[in-house]
Amino acid sequence: MINASSNVKLFLEISAFLTGFSETELKATGMLETYYNTILANTDGNDIDYFFQNVSDILSAPERTDATIEQAIAMQLIPDSCYSGLAKNIIALWYTGNWVGTVVSAASYIQGLMWEAGHTHPPGAKQPGYGSWANPPLSIVKQQN
């Protein structure tokens, strides 16, 4: 029996590999628990159990490196046939704040990683200030001393 708190931890760890954002970055969105609950509520129980078992095996494999983990993810999690496409849905969830085309919450819309990845901001939220459009995004401008 895998307990819930260790599953949240596995969810965070595998999400970092799936999204390319660090665990700290993912936590900083404040969406970890919401997203974990989202997948639990919308995924078949067997898929969830086997998915986390598989994730646990991948992340704790002996002599693992980032490369071996990524390869295992590509082989064992990413194909549509695996766990009803859960891994792909997780990526889309983090990037867009949507679960299979439906927005999870107002916060998830704002916290989507796609805004960060695109050096932009969610329209209607996290406004960058009047006139900011005249300058390159702060995230790509070298900070001057």
Binding site: T24, A28, P128, G129
Partner: protein
């Protein structure tokens, strides 16, 4: 009658400040002591910094400039604590309190710019080296917990440790601290510390006298403009500033400087005991000073039209409409966080540094703006927004002990 909380550009607001009076002060003891320096007199039991000492605190122009730089640091040192309180309020809760804290934080930024305008107004452009900046960002950033700069030592209840400014989550403790920072000075209250100011208002009072005395002296010496020989191009003017919280005043002469200080002190403490004498009552078209905004949060009630502040020290309790303050729907931010707290978590440390780089970038921007490039201030607004988003990211990161990370507001070198 409920009164409106935010009244921008209300000309009556400045009536809150008592004019400088050259007439003898009601507490002349220290004056006699000073004036009879040659005579051997027993020192008073407690030597207080009376209004007379405040009046003569600033002796020359370099000291006046130094005091204005300290004032700049003073304003800056209060902004991070207010921002921490504001950012730790969870979205959607304590909205009234958040709006009040936000309005104060924004006004402190305005005060910084007003102080810079005064300082630039009394700085002869010939004495400024090419590319020289008004202040030193690295050294102006305080290390929290910090005493108030400028030798301002607010009186604490007996048995309490000396006052420090802290980075804290939104809490009763934090609001208490803010009330202490903004507490109106009581002009007649005796001080236990002979060389310290009892509040921000008293410190600015010394600056007001310093400006007046130095300016009069310069005019007597034949300088037509007195000490106001600054380059007008170094002034930040209203078109360089938008948002909320009072107004930017261009400082070109003594009267302008007076108005700027009135704006600063009026917003901060508001009332120095004259409110009753002037028969000014709450709700009569006066924007609340910071102290009273914090009192409202502490009590969860607004001031109503009939509330007055008739006595010093301030005891005025708001009796207006209640509003909800949730002390629990708050990010449990670690008190006075430091980058070194995050050393065992490199990605978190990197995020904290990222926040601090943005903070330093913002201060550099303000520094350049007040050093002859006022148009840069508008660009800084993008950075101010970014600062908030970066702070919120840190607050979402749990530290594993029930607390969460937070912005540390420390100096870092930019990449």
């Amino acid at each position: 009658m409920e009164n409106k909380l935010f009244q921008e550009n209300n000309p009556k607001r400045q009536k809150l400040i008592r004019p400088l009076e050259e007439t003898p002060e009601p507490a002349p003891a220290p004056k006699a002591f000073v004036e009879t320096a040659g005579r051997v007199t027993a020192a008073p039991e407690v030597l207080k910094m009376s209004m007379v000492d405040v009046k003569n605190y600033i002796k020359d122009l370099p000291q006046l400039r130094a005091c204005l730089l300290t004032a700049l640091q003073l304003e800056l040192s209060t902004i991070p604590p207010y921002l921490c309180a504001l950012y730790t309020i969870k979205d959607g809760s304590s909205q009234q309190a958040a709006a009040l804290v936000r309005s104060v934080a924004v006004e402190e930024m305005l005060h910084m710019v007003l102080v810079a305008n005064i300082l630039n107004a009394i700085t002869d452009p010939k004495t400024i080296k090419e590319g020289e900046l008004l202040f030193d960002v690295k050294n102006i950033i305080p290390n929290y917990p910090t005493p108030l700069p400028g030798n301002i030592v607010p009186k604490m209840p007996p048995g309490k440790p000396a006052f420090t400014v802290n980075l804290r989550k939104f809490s009763r403790e934090a609001i208490d601290g803010f009330c202490t920072i903004e507490r109106p000075s009581d002009p007649d209250e005796s001080l236990t510390n002979p060389t310290a100011f009892d509040g921000i208002g008293q410190f600015y009072q010394a600056i007001r006298w310093g400006l007046k005395h130095m300016n009069e002296k310069a005019i007597r010496e034949g300088n037509k403009n007195g000490i106001f020989t600054g380059d007008p191009k170094r002034q930040v003017t209203p078109e360089h500033y938008y948002g909320s919280g009072g107004k930017i005043l261009k400082v070109e002469n003594y009267e302008d400087a007076e108005s700027a200080i009135e704006e600063i002190v009026g917003q901060g403490e508001g009332i120095d005991g004259t409110i009753a004498a002037n028969e000014v009552m709450f709700g009569e078209g006066i924007e609340y000073a910071h102290y009273f905004k914090f009192q409202e949060i502490a009590c969860g009630r607004m001031y109503s039209a009939n509330d007055t502040n008739f006595q010093m020290p301030v005891k005025s309790i708001p009796t207006g409409k209640h509003f909800d303050v949730s002390w629990s729907s708050v990010f449990n931010m670690k008190e006075n966080p430091k980058m070194k707290d995050y050393e065992n978590n490199p990605p978190l440390l990197e995020k904290a540094k990222g926040f601090n780089r943005t903070y330093v970038q913002l201060l550099n921007n303000i520094n350049r703006a007040v050093s002859g490039n006022p148009e840069l201030l508008i660009e800084g607004i993008t950075v101010m927004y970014d600062l908030k988003y970066k702070a919120l990211e840190l607050l979402n990161i749990p530290l594993g002990n029930g607390e969460c990370a937070g912005p540390t507001f420390e100096y870092v070198d930019l990449l």
